[in-house]
């Protein structure tokens, strides 16, 4: 039986075979190994392992911090994208290129740099300390790191959509008597929404799982500033493989939920406005 419609193109067996075998070996089998380990523990043990106070607060901290950072990046990202596409000013192209710095800069490098800046004796840390604020080695430090790594997501998903907006629609809106604010709110915002939400979900997913940039600045106090990925590493170092696997499965569950969310947003937007 042919699984592919007859085609003059060669190389289906080779390319599909390569894709499936590499994907299985490097991504699917390892993830399968995690799920098998979890299945071997049974639901009761699994639930017990993630309901402990320390694990629960770590998962909660990772998710909450990622949510706040992604929300900040959502608002700020849309503003940056708007300014970069619509306005002309000196340095625009440089700023546009710099937006991707968090993608290019290794997370460990970002982590120690942010720590040096926001530590109580750092440049920004001193200013914050003057205002009675503690950033590094406290929950706000985690937010700073996650805002940094998540910054490009919303900008880069929203930018092409802004560039595509037909200005005539905005003109029509203005002609019909809408104020600029009304036009932005009722005409522009609905078009940007799906892309902005996709970027938000990507930043959120990245933030929940982020490790390298956070562990230096967080302080890593159990129940206070200990993120879930770090707890996995700690469990592994204690040879508590089951404990690590349980947290891993919980995080995988969060990732899948996020992936579904992204897909749902895209399907919904395709149905609503015809493109993503």
């Amino acid at each position: 039986m042919r699984i592919v419609a007859k085609s003059p193109m060669p190389g289906f067996a080779l390319s599909a075979g390569l894709v499936l075998s590499l994907l299985s070996l490097i991504v699917l089998l390892p993830i399968g190994a995690l799920l098998v380990r979890g299945a071997g523990m049974g639901l009761g043990d699994l639930a017990a392992a993630i309901s402990g106070e320390r694990v629960r607060s770590a998962l909660l901290l990772s998710f909450r911090s990622a949510l706040i950072a992604a929300a900040f990046n959502l608002v700020f990202g849309v503003v940056v994208a708007w300014v970069l596409v619509r306005y002309r000013f000196p340095g625009r192209r440089l700023i546009d290129a710099a937006i991707d710095l968090p993608f290019a800069l290794p997370t460990a490098v970002a982590g120690i740099a942010l720590t040096a800046l926001y530590a109580p004796n750092g440049v920004f840390g001193q200013i914050a300390a003057g205002a009675g604020l503690r950033i590094a080695y406290a929950p706000p430090g985690i937010l700073v790191a996650l805002v940094f790594v998540g910054l490009p997501f919303v900008v880069r998903t929203v930018q092409p959509v802004i560039a595509e907006i037909d200005r005539e629609v905005e003109e029509a809106s203005a002609t019909l008597g809408a104020s600029r604010l009304t036009t932005l709110r009722r005409v522009v915002a609905p078009v940007l929404m799906p892309a902005a939400l996709t970027g938000f979900a990507l930043a959120l997913a990245r933030g929940v799982g982020e490790y390298g940039s956070v562990i230096f600045i967080a302080g890593n106090l159990p129940m206070k500033t200990e993120i879930a990925p770090l707890l996995i590493v700690i469990r592994l170092e204690e040879f508590d493989i089951d404990g690590a696997a349980a947290i891993g499965i919980a995080m995988l569950g969060i990732s899948f939920a996020m992936l579904l969310l992204i897909n749902a947003v895209q399907v919904w937007s395709r149905r609503r406005i015809g493109y993503v």
């Binding site: 599909a16 490097i26 290129a97 993608f103 200005r167 990732s255 996020m258």
Partner: protein, 294 residues
């Protein structure tokens, strides 16, 4: 009554503003906000990396980079990158060809699976590899018996790096191949070219900039990957410590200048990547996937 002023093009009106623009004050305010926030969020950390590395003078930084352990870390990172990026590229090319040129059931699922590593935490990725290849697993024990340990050794680091960089090339190539369609390739086949000849003379030249773009992104990530590698490397000094791992170890030992010197090295490479990527976006925008066009 008639003077040149009437013929001169009207000066940009101050009071009049296009209906699709925000008020000038708001525009200036937003531009200012973007500058300030990016200076704080992006430029300050970048400057800090170099500032801390050079805080004891350039000599101290260079001495730190000349340490044997730093050398071993740099060599390992280059080796891991050289092994993992080609795998990612081959995977991307195969995925592009299979998905953009053929219709088959399960295509949507395959595309989702390719993106899967983006939504898995690097630490979880490392954990998965430990659970598959680590000590006390059937496969892991067998591999150790064969004299080919994966975890706490080079293969594990490469696998972890490939895991996190897996979608990078495929994501850049796929949209370009879909957009270009198959007409040129069909023409080549009609004219009697073999499959490989068609691939090398038609397909590859058409996607070369997108391929290069994806390879750049994958290289940057491969050289800097930390979370996934931290789990599988075992952090054996001079043996399985990549540059990011060495940075962590030095930093935790309060060898700040040494840590930041290696960090400055990676940051310089990141800046080079960024510059090359930007050059591609400016010069070859039409050969990249639509959302990469500057």
């Amino acid at each position: 009554m008639f003077d040149a002023a009437h013929l001169a093009p009207p000066r940009p009106a101050r009071r009049f503003r296009a209906a699709t623009e925000e008020p000038a004050a708001l525009r200036r305010g937003l531009i200012g906000l973007v500058f300030v926030l990016l200076a704080v969020l992006l430029f300050a950390p970048l400057v800090t990396v170099f500032g801390e590395a050079l805080s004891q003078g350039a000599g101290a930084a260079l001495t730190a980079l000349a340490e044997p352990e730093a050398h071993a870390a740099i060599r390992l990172t280059l080796l891991v990158t050289a092994l993992s990026v080609p795998l990612t590229a081959v995977f991307g090319l195969a995925a592009g060809w299979a998905i953009a040129r053929f219709d088959f059931p399960g295509k949507a699922v395959l595309i989702t699976l390719i993106d899967l590593p983006f939504s898995v935490s690097p630490v979880v990725a490392g954990l998965c590899l430990v659970l598959l290849f680590g000590a006390n697993t059937t496969l892991g024990d067998w591999l150790v018996g064969q004299g080919m340990p994966v975890v706490f050794a080079l293969p594990g680091i490469v696998l972890a790096t490939v895991f996190v960089t897996f979608p990078f090339v495929a994501r850049e190539i796929l949209p370009v191949m879909v957009e270009q369609g198959r007409a040129e390739e069909e023409a080549a086949l009609t004219l009697g070219a073999s499959g490989w000849r068609m691939f090398f003379t038609v397909t590859l030249p058409n996607i070369r900039w997108a391929l290069l773009y994806g390879v750049l992104l994958a290289t940057a990530r491969a050289m800097g990957e930390f979370g996934a590698v931290a789990v599988v490397s075992g952090k054996i000094r001079g043996v399985t410590a990549t540059v990011p791992i060495a940075i962590e170890m030095l930093y935790n030992e309060y060898l700040t200048v040494a840590a930041f010197s290696l960090a400055a090295l990676l940051a310089s490479l990141a800046l080079v990547t960024l510059a090359l990527k930007t050059a591609l976006e400016w010069r070859h925008a039409d050969a990249l996937s639509a959302n990469r066009r500057a």
